[in-house]
Subunit: 476 residues, 2 copies
Amino acid sequence: MPMTILPDELIQRFVSIVGDKNAVRDQADLAPHLVENRGLYKGASPLLLKPASTEEVAAIMKIASETGTAIVPQTGNTGLVGGQTPRSDASDVILSLERMSRVRDIDPVANVIVVDGGCILDTVHQAAEKVERMFPLSLGSQGSCRIGGNLATNAGGTAVLAYGNMRQLCLGLEVVLPTGEIWNGLRRLKKDNTGYDLRDLFIGSEGTLGIITGAVLKLFPKPKGHQVAFAGLNSPADALTLFDRASTLCGAALTGFELMPRIGIEFTAKHIPGVRDPLETPHPWYALIDISTSDKAETAQTMIETLLEQGFEAGIVQDAVIASSEAQRQALWHMRESMSDAQKPEGGSIKHDVSVPVSKIPDFMAEAEAGVLQAIPGARICAFGHLGDGNIHYNISQPVGADKAEFIARWREINHIVHGIVLSHGGSISAEHGIGQLKRDELADIRPGIEMELMRRIKTAFDPAGVMNPGKVVKI
Amino acid sequence: MPMTILPDELIQRFVSIVGDKNAVRDQADLAPHLVENRGLYKGASPLLLKPASTEEVAAIMKIASETGTAIVPQTGNTGLVGGQTPRSDASDVILSLERMSRVRDIDPVANVIVVDGGCILDTVHQAAEKVERMFPLSLGSQGSCRIGGNLATNAGGTAVLAYGNMRQLCLGLEVVLPTGEIWNGLRRLKKDNTGYDLRDLFIGSEGTLGIITGAVLKLFPKPKGHQVAFAGLNSPADALTLFDRASTLCGAALTGFELMPRIGIEFTAKHIPGVRDPLETPHPWYALIDISTSDKAETAQTMIETLLEQGFEAGIVQDAVIASSEAQRQALWHMRESMSDAQKPEGGSIKHDVSVPVSKIPDFMAEAEAGVLQAIPGARICAFGHLGDGNIHYNISQPVGADKAEFIARWREINHIVHGIVLSHGGSISAEHGIGQLKRDELADIRPGIEMELMRRIKTAFDPAGVMNPGKVVKI
């Protein structure tokens, strides 16, 4: 057992709410909940609680608030900024929503689904599929991430271009407040202008303002046509031109436009089973273009052919393939989605999740490459991502043969270089992963004082006792 | 001059910021700023200020905050809930953004436009048009309403179905806080997960948390195909079925689906010059269907023909016309947009701006009609609106020959009946117009105590001196 400042009598009060078998105190069982995926953060905790209902969550928060006990909400534990990891002094109790994983209701005519905060993203996909609808949020971790966490981090993923991020996909919330009160904001309305936008304040607040225990999400008609192309390009500038043409040609039918570098294709072909370079000769850059059409299947095919023809004629597409089956479409997306995993066998990777206005992508890429290579000659830049959203995962693999620990030790230094260039283009240091612990202090450094002050005022107004995921996002 | 509690020395301090010729004190000149469009509210004020810059707005708010002087921001004065009208004790200073009406920047590649808070909506439309782009917000008042007010009220309009309301159309804001500090949140990013969502908190706060002096708005590619149909239907239930088919068939290409009753067509044909019933025989209900396609013009035509064919075959469309020219498309929309004005010659009208989940529209319409006719036999219900968003303008014209004043005196009573039915279906008492003065107390009655408490905490955290449009939205 770790040393904890929490008295046993207090722990017993918490345990009695959920029952012994839903309270984890054994450190071996707790262990997977104390670290995040990349191993950047490791915390400690004497207790994990698994409430079965909103009322149990509320009862936990009431005691927490009365006794000043910090609560860390956790859903799929797939976050990438340490927002779900307890602090290291074993003073935080973890609250897991894994037992609250139901689909509460689904209405295909109104195009809504109502789910528990602990509902797994894939469960939502399957429930929508059963009624001939579609829920567009698509993430690598969709088999384990849960809706409460997706909302708490305003998750993005690969379908943001056409459908938006979680904030755009959510109509209503049920939230347990730090004080243990329950806010029932489970509205199913597309339009509702009745006072301050509490919903969007909770979305993206990373569990620091309350615990999202339920949500109303939007569903969409399933597209009838779907087509994917993979194109070899000479530069990010050509990719931007192609994106601009694709937007104009396809409008809302353009559901994905991803940029990848040559080295990313090499890494995936080398390390990910079944992946091979789809084109005959190498190209410096690649675009993955995804088109979904609602009227009929052929429109997607016509659109993608027209786009590639225009691209060839303009000299911006060097070579391309169009997927000829659903299996090929999935294979092309699999390559893109494996790009981060494919870096792992290549040693240490310093990561960034940044965005700039889409028109600034080429300048950003050139300046960041120059800055990084000046600092670490031989660094292998594997910058890929959602070009259509201006969101690049600017990942940097260590030079061949370099010492991994020494390379990773330069994380902050390299962040500083890349983020400086991002900010010079009016960009964001966290496009979709959030702030958590990882970027909390950096955010305070780069944002105007008044902005941080407003965030602190909100935090204090919602969580006067300071018990709701303290130490994340904003320092009080 | 009205009696005012503001000392002349204080008024002089305000005047000195903007200069004499930009400070209105003459009551004849002030008069149009003291009433709102429907004449429901009439306020009093000794002073209207027209700052020319964000810095001047900030200087005004600094003095206001120091001296506890209430400021009412006003843009196009087209709001419908009294949010822009000063209170009646002549203690509020009006701050007009009409001199801050510039387009600051436009970037067609990034699809963004940056404008002053006082920029007229039509100016944004024209600027977008010049660079082959489109800004989708479309309102009857677009020639006079201004972006700051559109944002402050989270304006909706006729294109919400495909493009969302102002919250979805805005990327960044510049806001002068009640304390006179300036928050520069003029980001141009589609993805930015860096802390609490201040932007969406200011949007829809109706000038009670700060003054929106600048905004970054999204632009879209201009659709290539555009087609409008007008269909005669038997019931709201058939309209809902048709809408469901249209959504499935057209997906994001379905840009408008408006419901209108027979009496609305009669009123417009009678009172609006140039409007005539487009169909040969009368039908109880009508749908206006608007389709915009990005790939080519013909797709819109094919889609609308297919939809109407399906509707005829299923027996849900009784008769229909497809516009054969841009002039006809505009004429059909003009009929829809004149529906509120066409009620005026028919005497008093009690209005509601409500929303319910779209699947509940038929039940809501039936129950509301029964409730209203029981209270006022002979009342003429002219309920029309954005069926696709679940948003109905449930307007009720007085019975023929009734006394207008007596009818209007029953506004609250009828609101109570209609809103009760709305709430029983999980709906909203203000879908797009906001709360202002008109619905402030009713909101507090119907919403859970904790929700109003959170709003009050936010208001107090942002505006500790209580000087920012006091008395609107939430009572402190």
